[in-house]
């Protein structure tokens, strides 16, 4: 892909770039950082990125929200409702995982007095 192609890509896919930017930042934090709270933050960023990606998959140019709030609204220019429903589910699942991760972090800190994963090595090969 040449420079022109890259610029064209950037212009047309701003949302995708934002979404995958968040996804990669989140993944990078989770892979590299050794502090559990930072890892959980990375997980949160990763999930936000995935949700943004799902919503932007269903977007239609100049589309409106798929709600017939009065009878005169046409169904032609509405965005796809399915990804929005999926994102609702994905957000709730993300909240559940985050809550559980935080509670485990609380317990881990009670046991070890640290959240540094390098120092938490009860289990070995």
């Amino acid at each position: 892909m040449d420079i022109q192609g890259v610029i064209h890509f950037m212009q047309n896919y701003t949302y995708y770039i934002g979404a995958f930017g968040l996804i990669f930042i989140g993944l990078f934090i989770m892979l590299v950082k050794r502090n559990l709270i930072k890892v959980i933050l990375g997980l949160s960023i990763l999930e936000t990125g995935v949700n943004l990606f799902l919503v932007s998959v269903g977007y239609i140019s100049k589309g409106t929200a798929p709600i017939f709030s009065n009878a005169s609204i046409e169904g032609k220019s509405m965005v796809d409702p399915v990804p929005q429903a999926l994102v609702l589910t994905a957000i709730v699942i993300g909240v559940a995982v985050l809550a559980l991760a935080l509670s485990l972090a609380v317990r881990l800190y009670q046991h070890y007095g640290t959240l540094d994963l390098r120092q938490i090595r009860e289990q070995r090969w």
């Binding site: 799902l54 995982v97 559980l100 485990l104 317990r107 046991h111 070890y112 938490i120 009860e122 090969w125």
Partner: protein, 498 residues
């Protein structure tokens, strides 16, 4: 097709998911009335589900049952596909779930018991949903139920190692689920549908390079739960720190369900019909690494956990060959692993309690102290190794026979490696059996058997292991039609979309 109520000819498979869920939601209310009742709820629920699953077997051998949720025709609504594969797995989940819940009635004595039983029901419900659903996003949702409840149950005792393993498991699992979700999002973007059959129909005419990326993401995401090498770093920790009843379910059900999702996606959605060289090697590698790590362990639960990795490798090897015989062998191996490993973990659970340690050396003289449990353990071990007349023998035999039937030199060499894995497996299991029976224990040698409620499920597992081991024809019928359901993409699409 039009007579869909609570009961079809058998019990409507949607109830396998809904009834356990309903009871799980109701347990907090029941717990306010009486805490004693709560531990019998899973026993009751899974007896019902087991009866239901068995009652559907004659029908699904004929043609798969398609259940529409909410009455919308696929691909516009979510549908359940209870074909031979779905019913086979739901019967297996219900049977193992029933046995382990009987075991847990006496085994789980400390900690937040009411919550244990709720999470146990939900874990199995998640597994049941994954094997029955015909919608890819619905599969993700049930998969998350399975994963999140197992993260919690791994840390159930709340001790140092439990919480640490749960954290590791959660981090790796969460990355896996996110990758899976990205893959699903990409598929939806490409094809505008989430129904598996509809996806399969459209993917066959799509550009293979484009389709490869979502496939790779989904397989990687599911591979974490299915313990494929190198995504299985969490497994030994998690399986060894969980309560033994949960280890039995995690080893026997959770990773199998993960592997089921992988093969369902590969075979049914992406329509891979020829053998997959990458997975053949991955399987053999997983097998050898698992068995070698297991050999070097002196902690019994870690040893069993690593042995599960080895067994998963064997199943991946079988599925990757992708002939109908080999797939049937892989499914058979799943059954025999669930039964064998479930039995081993249950027996080991009480041996650990009685000896007070997970070190294999502390089991010296156990054969005298708890003879029945030790016999169960030995039978489980022999079945996993693949000795006749136990169930492990026909399943391993089927896989090796179908690998040799490929006829190429490469497959002969790979089969040799698989057999070498079996030899290692045999070595460490015989070592344990030798410690149990032929080493004199120091300390008390009084008889101190496991309680009767723990012996009953062990006995039933043993009975099934021996019966199917002697008459493998019992299950071969449903295994063959299950294998053809997995390999026959066109029939699957036709039965769902009409």
């Amino acid at each position: 097709m039009n007579d869909f109520g609570l009961f079809l000819n058998g019990i409507n498979p949607v109830l396998f998911i809904v009834v356990p869920l309903g009871f799980a939601f109701g347990i907090p209310l029941l717990g306010m009335i009486s805490k004693k009742i709560v531990k019998w709820v899973p026993v009751f629920v899974y007896s019902f589900v087991l009866v239901g699953a068995l009652s559907n077997i004659p029908d699904v051998l004929d043609k798969p049952i398609i259940i529409q949720i909410g009455g919308f025709v696929p691909p516009f609504g979510i549908n359940l596909v209870a074909g031979p594969v779905g019913i086979l797995f739901s019967a297996l989940i219900a049977f193992a779930g029933l046995m382990v819940s009987i075991y847990a009635v006496v085994y789980i004595k400390e900690g937040p018991e009411v919550r244990y039983h709720i999470l146990y029901l939900l874990l199995l419900t998640g597994a049941m949903g994954v094997v029955l659903t015909g919608d890819i996003f619905n599969l993700f949702v049930f998969f998350e139920i399975l994963c999140i409840s197992s993260y919690t149950l791994v840390g159930y005792f709340g001790n140092k190692s439990g919480i640490e393993s749960a954290v590791k498991y959660l981090i790796q699992g969460a990355i896996g689920s996110s990758l899976l979700l990205i893959g699903i999002g990409l598929l939806y973007g490409l094809f505008g549908t989430l129904n598996m059959a509809d996806l399969a129909r459209q993917i066959s005419s799509a550009d293979p390079v484009t389709v490869f990326i979502p496939m790779a993401l989904m397989i990687t995401g599911l591979g974490v739960e299915a313990a494929l090498f190198p995504l299985n770093a969490w497994l030994p920790d998690a399986h060894s720190s969980a309560p033994s009843s949960i280890s039995a379910i995690l080893s026997g059900i959770a990773i199998e369900v993960g592997l089921y999702a992988v093969i369902r996606i590969l075979f049914t959605i992406f329509g891979i019909s020829d053998f997959i060289m990458f997975f053949v090697f991955l399987g053999v590698l997983t097998l050898l690494i698992g068995e070698m790590c297991a050999f070097s362990q002196n902690n019994i639960k870690r040893m069993l956990a690593y042995s599960s990795i080895g067994q998963i490798g064997l199943m991946v090897f079988a599925f990757a060959i992708a002939t109908s015989h080999a797939v049937a062998g892989g499914l058979f191996q799943m059954i025999s692993h669930t039964l064998g490993k479930g039995l081993l973990f249950m027996a080991a659970g009480y041996m650990i309690i009685r000896s007070g340690s997970m070190k294999t050396a502390s089991f010296e003289g156990m054969g005298k102290r708890m003879p029945l449990t030790c016999v169960a353990f030995t039978i489980g071990a022999f079945s996993i190794v693949g000795l006749p007349p136990f169930i492990g023998f026909p399943s391993k035999f089927l896989i090796i026979q179908s690998a040799l039937a490929k006829g190429t030199v490469l497959f002969t060499i790979l089969t040799g490696l698989v057999l070498m894995g079996t030899v290692i497996e045999g070595a460490y299991f015989f070592r344990i059996v030798q410690v149990i029976y032929f080493k004199k224990g120091n300390g008390d040698s009084e008889r101190n058997e496991a309680p009767i409620a723990a012996l009953i499920p062990m006995f039933l597992f043993t009975a099934v292991i021996i019966i199917i081991g002697i008459y493998p024809k019992f299950v071969l019928g449903i295994l063959d039609s299950a294998a053809s359901e997995l390999l026959n993409q066109i029939d699957y699409i036709r039965s769902v979309l009409g």
